[in-house]
């Protein structure tokens, strides 16, 4: 195990601001920690573990990078989507005649223009999707199921004409009572959103099942939970609620689509998965996948929210009708009201422990808001709630429940943040009641290799224990926190991480560089992380690799950039491509030297032959065409599956007892990265996840009125953290290599969002003595809790 010490390279201004606010002694301590970091990184590899400048950096910082909204095509039309003003309503009729008569309007679409999807279930890489529901989400059929639900769309010569035309579309609605809250939606007398939804359990529906908002039930058991609780000296059972929150990516959804005269469709889009967009679009408009080419533009954030399609099928139908390319761009209100969010939830968690601090039983009942259509991350939520601990007897029951909100989508470790908030708050209360140290309690109960999860499988090598130990041993945790209304909390979290499928192609250039083409869209700098693994395997520099993300016609099938999988799985593909190149380089050297290839070997970027013959990679690259054509390495990954990722967080807060405002004073995250390919990117993912978790914890929520209308659909009113809200996020990279990856990589993108709400809740309790069990822990709620104390 290796630890990087404390790092914050991302916000020097904020760092300065924060340092200036610190007492001199603390400031000196922080600077000492930064210096320690600079000298403590010992590298096992030549490229892996270094911090090269990202290959896409210049274009990003100069503004030259091309995003979806930058696309301009000859004759391009501009589209506008008309959205439902009602949260729940029947659509009795749609009259587009007045809009169609407006000069400059070229086409209008409604759901009638889309093929009937019946109830087909299609595997879309990261999961199976009911195509009827997906189609009805892209364009409402007979009902509008949330405020902002797309009802019709217009393409016109200008965006202004399209906006005017959309206002002329007459939709006759019959408003229905909205169902906005998960427990209410589960009641027998609740209005039912979808008449084709019946509760499934492990994929099957009971013959007598009625239409219901409860779309699925999950049940996991391990051992005898009643016998387990009988052994407990202390049992804590608490209820928790979390609000609907959005991924909050800065770049809104966009799509530009050309349906060409030959029937071929090209999509320019910001997406986490080009092949997923290709399949969803093809399925929804009813053409073969090979007729759709998806070109990935740069992406301004996704966090799970840019996997489902919203705009491409609509733009495609508009383009088919007009014969011209059509561009659709969402504004921020549409992003909030019609895309994303992660579910609000209700959870009841019960944990029993012995007097000597051993957890003996756990029981959880969890309900997630799926939004308008089934598909919340309730299953992973159930599977994660007890995943950090070795609990002999446990039971988890979960429900996926439809409500009149946007169809929920993945958001960093989907489902795990909600349940970590509940479980880690209960764990903290047990530690308080038993009078034991919160870190030592977690160490004593930590899941480790061989621990059986409540959902059944046994862990392989994991780093849960190591992350808690890293926090326990950190200067932060060991330091004394002083001052009124200040408190410290810790919490831990887990995410599975995925493997799935990736493909790359690498071509050796005559100047000794290598062009790398990959199918994984790059959200967090993965181009460089993949290039570094190729470089490490070839024994060349990261700068000698030129990575680019290709369209769906130019690279093999690659699953979405999600599940913390790209550095792991696409990295494996790059390693495999590099090995193919190694073999071909050996063969070319043998031809050049006129020796048998078995006498030549590839060693750390050099090709070594008999009689002291040798080439550097660049020397041989310059000669390969003397004895053959291009050297191209292909690599794929499909079989490898990751072990899980764990993180433990420590936070200090100060609570203003008069206003309820919570100030984050200091934050440290320890996370198992397996092997950190590019430590700056690992730290960036850790810090970014923490900041999003802080927002989820303290401020972010969808505010709905009694009609189901979101009242804060702007970034002014939906408050995500800014640099003024967070201090330096100190990072400790723990490295417990994953044996499934040649360099030991574990995905790092998701798990850092899981612990912050619980860690902050525990810190608030330590500061002012109130237990917060309702997210967000916004000033009014904290203030009310203090007043009720």
């Amino acid at each position: 195990m290796r630890q990087h010490a404390l790092v914050n390279h991302r916000r020097p201004k904020n760092e300065d601001r924060t340092l200036i606010g610190l007492p001199v002694a603390e400031r000196q301590g922080y600077l000492q920690r930064i210096r320690t970091m600079a000298t403590s990184e010992k590298r096992k590899y030549k490229v892996i573990g270094t911090r090269p400048i990202r290959h896409d950096g210049v274009d990003k910082v100069t503004g030259r990078a091309q995003y979806g909204a930058d696309v301009r095509l000859t004759g391009m039309l501009h589209g506008v989507v008309l959205r439902s003003p009602h949260a729940h309503a029947k659509i009795k009729s749609i009259d587009t005649s007045a809009a169609a008569a407006l000069p400059g309007v070229r086409a209008i679409v409604t759901s009638a223009d889309f093929p009937d999807q019946v109830g087909r279930i299609v595997e879309l890489g990261e999961g199976a999707v009911n195509m009827r529901h997906l189609s009805a989400n892209v364009m409402a059929h007979d009902k509008a199921l949330y405020k902002g639900h797309a009802v019709a769309a217009v393409a016109a010569d200008s965006i202004h004409i399209a906006e005017e035309a959309a206002k002329l579309i007459k939709v006759d609605y019959e408003p229905l009572p909205p169902v906005m809250e998960v427990i209410g939606a589960m009641r027998d007398d609740a209005p039912v959103l979808n008449d084709d939804v019946r509760m499934t359990e492990m994929g099957t529906v009971k013959p007598d099942a009625k239409a219901s908002n409860v779309a699925a039930k999950f049940l996991f058991t391990k051992g005898d939970v009643n016998a387990g609780f009988a052994k407990a000296d202390i049992i804590i059972e608490r209820e928790f609620r979390t609000a609907t929150v959005h991924q909050g990516y800065i770049e809104p959804h966009n799509a530009t689509v050309l349906w060409n005269a030959d029937g071929k469709v090209t999509v320019w889009i910001s997406t986490q998965g080009t092949f997923s967009v290709r399949q969803q679009t093809a399925e929804l408009v009813g053409i073969p996948v090979s007729d759709v080419k998806v070109i990935p533009m740069e992406i301004g954030g996704g966090f799970g929210g840019k996997i489902s399609v919203y705009l491409p099928p609509v733009a495609a139908i508009l383009s088919r009708k007009t014969g011209k390319p059509v561009q659709l761009l969402m504004d921020r209100a549409a992003v909030f009201e019609a895309t994303g969010p992660t579910p609000g939830s209700f959870m009841r968690v019960k944990v029993g422990a012995t007097r000597d601090g051993k957890i003996v039983a756990g029981d959880a009942w969890i309900a997630f808001e799926a939004g308008a259509f089934p598909g919340s991350p309730i299953a992973p939520g159930c599977m994660c709630v007890f995943s950090c601990y070795d609990i002999p007897d446990a039971r988890v029951e979960g429900y996926d429940v439809c409500v009149n909100k946007p169809r929920s989508n993945a958001y960093r470790a989907p489902g795990s943040t909600q349940v970590a908030f509940a479980m880690e708050t209960v764990v903290d209360e047990i530690c308080e009641k038993l009078g034991v140290d919160a870190a030592e309690f977690r160490i004593k109960n930590a899941a480790k290799e061989g621990t059986r999860r409540v959902d059944g499988p046994v862990y392989n090598r994991i780093g849960m224990l190591e992350t808690v130990e890293a926090i326990r041993d950190s200067e932060h945790y060991q330091s004394k926190l002083t001052g009124p209304n200040r408190g410290r909390g810790i919490a831990t979290g887990f995410w599975f991480n995925a493997g799935l499928k990736s493909a790359v192609v690498a071509t050796v250039n005559l100047d000794g560089t290598v062009s790398l083409i990959e199918g994984s869209t790059d959200i967090g700098g993965s181009r460089t992380g993949i290039a570094m693994q190729l470089a490490e395997t070839l024994g060349i520099t990261a700068e000698a690799v030129k990575p680019q993300v290709a369209d769906t016609d130019s690279i093999g099938y690659t699953d979405v950039t999600g599940g913390s999988r790209v550095t792991f799985a696409t990295g494996i593909a790059a390693v495999n491509a590099a090995k193919e190149i190694q073999q071909q380089m050996v063969e070319r050297a043998a031809l050049l030297w006129e020796v048998d290839a078995s006498t030549v070997k590839y060693d750390d970027g050099k090709i070594i032959g008999p009689a002291s013959k040798s080439f550097t990679f660049a020397e041989l690259a310059a000669k390969i065409h003397e004895v053959g054509g291009a050297i191209i390495g292909h690599g794929t990954s499909s079989a490898a599956e990751q072990g899980g990722a764990f993180g433990t967080h420590c936070v200090d807060v100060e609570v203003d007892p008069d206003t309820g405002k919570v100030q984050i004073l200091r934050y440290t995250i320890a996370q198992d990265a397996g092997t950190a390919i590019h430590p700056s990117y690992v730290e960036g993912q850790m810090q970014g996840g923490v900041v999003q978790g802080i927002g989820w914890a303290l401020n972010e929520e969808y505010f709905y009125d009694d009609k189901g209308v979101m009242r804060n659909a702007t970034f002014l009113d939906y408050r995500i953290p800014t640099c003024y809200d967070v201090p330096m996020i100190e990072t400790i990279i723990v490295e417990v290599p994953d044996p499934a990856h040649p360099y030991g990589v574990r995905g790092v993108g998701e798990v850092p969002i899981c612990p912050p709400p619980a860690a902050i809740a525990n810190a608030i309790h330590a500061a002012v003595g109130v237990r917060m069990r309702d997210l967000p822990m916004s000033p009014p709620k904290v203030c009310a809790a203090i007043l009720q104390k």
Partner: protein, 87 residues
Amino acid sequence: MATVYIPPALRDLTGGVETVEATGHTVRAILADLEPRYPGLTARLCTDDVLRPGLMVAVAGSMSKLGLRTPVPENAEVHFLPALGGG
């Protein structure tokens, strides 16, 4: 001999038993071995000769995308779980 963990929702087919032993080199063969003893198990887990949508299998601690074709090593554990997606 593999150990198959029966999900709670399907234990009505096994008389409440949580784990059963089965032989076979793939998940398909494992289910074929179990079906005569627990009629209906395959139909509850599969449709059109593949795992039902939304389900996946974990063998020897690893999730598999190979479904019924997943190889099952000797003495491995087999779990049927909900399919997962990440963000």
